[in-house]
Amino acid sequence: MELKSKDLLGLEYLSRKEIQLILDTTIPFKNLFTRSVKKVPPLRGKTVVILFYEPSTRTRASFELAAKRLNADTLNITVSSSSVVKGESLIDTGKTLEAMKADFVVIRHGMAGAAHLLARTVKASVINAGDGSHEHPTQGLLDMFTMREKFGSISGLKVAIVGDILHSRVARSNIWGLNKMGAKVYVVGPSTLIPKFIEDLNVTVCYNLKEIIGELDVVNILRIQKERTVESLFPSLHEYHKIFGVTEEMLGKSKKSLLIMHPGPMNRGIEISSVVADSERSVITEQVTNGIAVRMSILYLLGGKASEINY
């Protein structure tokens, strides 16, 4: 069993078996974290370029730690201080990185499909760390890993993704991945934040979280992305909190085993109340730990392809 592509562009393009392989391989990497030496050598001598066109703390830090714990060298390129501000195109940036013999390029970009374009241009393995509102595959994988760890299996779980489905790449990666793994997926949010024809992705649309909270196993709460001025799409943040915010009161109606997830960073008091965020059912900080292990697993599995590059 192996990954078919040299790149990880989205969960839409992975088979159930490939997702399973990534999740299985994550376990031994997670076990490393309890050791005093958390570093292992399989990517020794490889270079991982982290190319971010959008601000990020946790995803960038997570990829950097994952690469470093596999003994790869990392190079961080922040666009605000790079030649991109001088007008260099993505393809030219890719060619430059190729000339520097990068083995992996981890890219985050505001435009959907940016990672695909880069993957076609360079020989290096391209990992999509978020492209516009399209996909964020490593987040989808770490969410699934966390669910599998808690429930033993994803198949049959009822998972609700709550919030701004319209702009969320996390939502789309979760939907693709969870459906492949046999979960039942709901999307919940104000009608202005639920895209048209989302049912075609095999999800159930719901406009009131209270109606379904009782049957859910997992609620994955999305951030209200103020930077995308979504506030104009519903009356007020206060009203959003009242209807879609996950609160203590709502937990009273749910299963005792309900898992609370959030990709971060959280807006406490808007999509999630502080009490819920810090409750025992919340696995939000574990998601961060699992994120590093999942990214190590992906770098490791793609590493075999990267070693075949003939520069």
């Binding site: 031994p28 292992v40 050598p41 399989p42 070693s307």
Partner: protein, 179 residues
């Protein structure tokens, strides 16, 4: 392909028993003695040796599990990454006497990787090597301290160790390619 059974159940049992006695005979401080088995067959053998030592000395010997995949030296030459298995060393190895256990000793590269892996857990006092079969043809300066059976092979031969933990019988098979 010619298949020869070079060790049967009884011979494997005797070899393990003798190796266990040899380890005890070395007079390591029993409270510092631990076993680490290399995935997969090495783990079963390590557990069997630990059990034999317990029978002889009346003391339980801790057994750790080591997967050497991360430490291989051929990561650059294989396109499909090998499957990563569990590593679990549930004790502190600092100042311990470790008996590293594997099924077959061949080029010595697995043992080299295992030594790197162990060192990431701490600094043991001594590491000794126990193998069920030593087939020669070393590529690295590594030698075993406790050997079940030593045989001469050619590079094309294959040695397969089957143990009851996962297979039907205990046996060691030598597969000789004709020509």
């Amino acid at each position: 392909m010619k298949k020869n059974i070079i060790m049967n159940e009884k011979e494997i049992y005797r070899a393990i028993k003798r190796m266990s006695h040899e380890i005890v005979e070395k007079n390591y401080a029993m409270k510092n003695l631990v076993m680490i088995g290399i995935q997969t067959e090495g783990v079963f053998l390590a557990r069997r040796i630990a059990k034999e030592i317990e029978n002889i000395e009346g003391k339980k010997i801790p057994v750790g599990v080591l997967d050497i995949t991360f430490y291989r030296d051929d990561a650059d030459s294989i396109a499909n990454q090998p499957k990563v298995r569990e590593t679990n060393i549930p004790f502190n190895i600092k100042n311990k006497v470790i008996v590293l256990v594997d099924d077959v000793l061949f080029a010595g590269r697995t043992v080299r990787a295992a030594l790197d892996g162990i060192m990431d857990f701490g600094r043991p006092k001594i590491i000794r090597l126990a193998v069920l079969v030593d087939r020669g043809l070393r590529e690295l300066p590594i030698r075993p301290d406790f050997v079940g059976k030593k045989i001469t092979t050619t590079p094309k031969d294959r040695i397969v160790v089957e143990l009851k933990e996962t297979k039907k019988n205990d046996r060691v098979i030598l597969q000789v390619k004709p020509g």
